[in-house]
Symmetry: C2
């Protein structure tokens, strides 16, 4: 489509809501992963539900692809506009519309970031627990069913998104879910849209469940001689029902990278990073229990971190893991595997992944939300080197095959985007055709984020 005519179609927007500049289009052509594709033809910045409705009505009428864009922190190429068209940048819809402390509910626009939301909640003694590390937008987190370090205690986005306002491909506006804590009314469209990666509709309002800030928060590091002992100990702790708020495996390679870039002096061994939330009394009981149990499983040193500054450093280290790992390989790009398996399978799955990295000689390190059975291999690769890319993809494929053979999923939290499409048929079998039929039903021309999630290869 000719460039000038495209911007004319959206002349109902104000000039500052439209960009065709090369730098803005380039910025909207990729996320934080190795996936690359074309630039969008145009970037639009809606400021209201009504803007989104008019943009989608126009795009629907003219069959123009629309790719919602948040903070650009996705890891599977979700925001790459593989068929060009519109990148729909939601970041100017970033108002926090309502905070209801008595109901533990908040209503936000999708461009609100996780950290901005938590800043606003803090004065009410509340926090939003879902924490993927990156300062993603709530819209993006909803679109991928993001989770992260706190999910073992508080659940993923799906457990915490209570209602949505969604603009469908044809511009219809619907509301899904309920502000009530539970409902058995109608079909549960809410959970269908959470994790739909922009392929079923564009979110314009999101109601979230929030939580009271715990009376006391204590972090801890638990060191282990090797990865199998570390994973086994984590699964034993969760299996015993010890209430942890975070339990993260960090392998020695990540620890070495932290130390180098952050000036810490953590021992370079496989480590569990833990966090406990509770009352002043209860939390000490939980920590003592955890320490004893991890000791039985081979923990060589357990260090409780009560100081808030030290705790912040610890979680900054954890959250920057992928960044500091990648910083060791200037010019290379990041691939993250993301399988999630039943807890009893986790030790074998991590051992298998470790072997796969070694066998293919890949630059990789392992980190994991081990309380959920979810772990990542961060792999540094050169996407322009076919050999390197092929080896990285082979590692990913082997890790996914192991997970699927053991009742797991190819993606625990990053979502499918481009990178996990190849595994959808294998994971879902005949259910994939039902998913595709729902996609066609709600987006008959396939304008919403085409080429992602359940879309077939062409």
């Amino acid at each position: 489509m000719e460039r000038q005519s495209l911007s004319d179609l959206f002349s109902f927007l104000k000039p500052h809501q439209i960009s065709e500049s090369a730098s803005v289009r380039e910025q909207h052509s990729h996320d934080e992963s190795y996936h690359r594709g074309p630039w969008p033809d145009i970037v639009l910045f809606p400021e209201s539900t009504d803007d989104v409705v008019r943009i989608l009505q126009t795009a629907f009428a003219h069959r123009i692809p629309v790719v919602p864009f948040g903070a650009g922190t996705a890891l599977e190429g979700h925001v790459v506009p593989v068929k060009r068209g519109i990148s729909l940048d939601m970041t100017r819809m970033n108002r926090i519309l309502d905070i209801r402390p008595d109901d533990f509910l908040v209503c936000v626009e999708p461009g609100t970031t996780r950290l901005a939301l938590n800043d606003a909640l803090r004065r009410h003694g509340l926090f939003f627990p879902v924490d993927p590390g990156a300062n993603a937008t709530i819209g993006g987190m909803t679109a991928t069913n993001a989770s992260g370090t706190n999910a073992v205690r508080y659940g993923a986005m799906r457990e915490n998104v209570r209602a949505l306002e969604v603009v469908l491909a044809d511009g219809r506006v619907i509301r899904t879910g309920s502000l009530a804590a539970k409902t058995s009314s109608g079909y549960n469209l809410n959970s269908l849209f959470v994790g739909s990666e922009g392929t079923l509709g564009v979110f314009t309002r999101i109601w979230l469940r929030v939580f009271g800030i715990p009376e006391r928060i204590v972090a801890a590091r638990a060191e282990f001689p090797d990865i199998p002992a570390c994973v086994q100990a984590a699964t034993a702790l969760v299996g015993a029902g010890v209430p942890v708020a975070r339990i993260e495996l960090v392998d020695a390679r990540f620890i070495a990278a932290f130390n180098r870039f952050k000036g810490t002096d953590y021992p370079v061994v496989p480590t569990l990073f833990l966090e406990f939330h509770g009352s002043s009394d209860g939390i000490l009981h939980d920590i003592r229990l955890a320490q004893a149990l991890l000791g039985d499983e081979g923990c060589t040193r357990f260090v409780a971190v009560t100081d808030e500054k030290e705790r912040t450093t610890l979680w900054e280290a954890r959250h920057s893991a992928a960044h500091v790992f990648m910083a060791q390989y200037p010019g290379l790009k990041h691939m993250a595997t993301d399988v999630c398996v039943p807890l009893s399978v986790l030790p074998a799955a991590v051992a298998h992944a470790h072997r796969a990295l070694e066998e293919h000689g890949m630059r990789g390190a392992i980190i994991g939300h081990v309380g959920d059975g979810n772990f990542h291999c961060s792999i540094a690769l050169d996407p322009d080197d076919p050999d390197d890319l092929a080896r990285a993809k082979a590692v990913n494929a082997e890790i996914v095959a192991f997970a699927l053979a053991h009742g797991g999923t190819c993606t625990g939290e990053h979502g499918v985007g481009i990178g996990k499409r190849a595994y959808q048929a294998q994971e879902h079998g005949p259910a994939l055709e039902v998913m595709r039929a729902i996609r066609r039903l709600l987006d008959p021309h396939g304008i919403l984020n085409p080429g992602k999630l359940v879309d077939p290869d062409e």
Copy 2:
């Protein structure tokens, strides 16, 4: 359709899997509510997924309605075969197929009852927490997204059904969800089928999350001078984050009915029935905290119940509430309202419901899962007296209108069935058309439980 030919269509089943007897058909024509309708033409008893596939293929080809039937304990006419056809009795598919203690997972056939499952889990130190009171089948509980007294701590069915095997209307078999604790792969069909009330498919296998039996369980009764104080105290307790496993409002009328039928001598005042789950140390802390907090909110007496027999009596009393209430009105039938509202709205919603019962002079009593914002008015009515029925429906309508006006839902846990259909358009707005489109997509001839949930009036 002529009777004889119908049974011939299913001659691939064994004779004991088919019944056309009047008593069996009558038994499959109703649930535990006031809803009444025709009898099914035939009752079929599948014993395997393959039986279900062949039955649905045949029904699909011949456009015969199919109504899945479990324990018959529904409360909104879900199993009433309003268009006759087949009642598909799932109770012979009641095997517990797999218990995986290390993964906190179990796989059951849909006819497994809640109590049978918990009997089998006990020897592994596990339990399944969702507890609607009745000894429903897991299939029926999945179909209505049932919850009950434990949901405030453990969630409803939707939070605890991890994967499903589903036979679609045309006989296709799909698998939804994953055995992993979380997944962002594909669309979340799992949550779409949970709560679909037999209108999207028939469940043949259900994978559930289960929990370790708590180290210590203590129940308690907290007495209050009036209902507003009782509800206010419950919302304050939950708002303060005190970890309760159950928190149930029982009004004085229910208490009086218990005492009469169960020989208890509970004071006839509005009461909270509570339960705490935890470690021996932690639970005492929780109970002390709860007692202090409820005292501040006007609790006149707090009685902890540590003895297991006494605790069992207390929950038997709670679970038999509707039965003992109805036993006071021989010949009358039961209507239960089921709204769920944001917690801050609950005191006003219960007060409003109480007034509505009084104003219409209905025989009613109030009980509630107040930690979730969910409460029921049990109403005794004569469905053959148009005046009585009209007044009961007016009370229900007023209670629902209040809930919907305050961000709530018309049904927190019983589901829509026949009785809440009238409120679907009001609650869901334009989303109802999306629900109906999904229904038409998966069941183009509308053979699966027609006339329920999202189906339009005809």
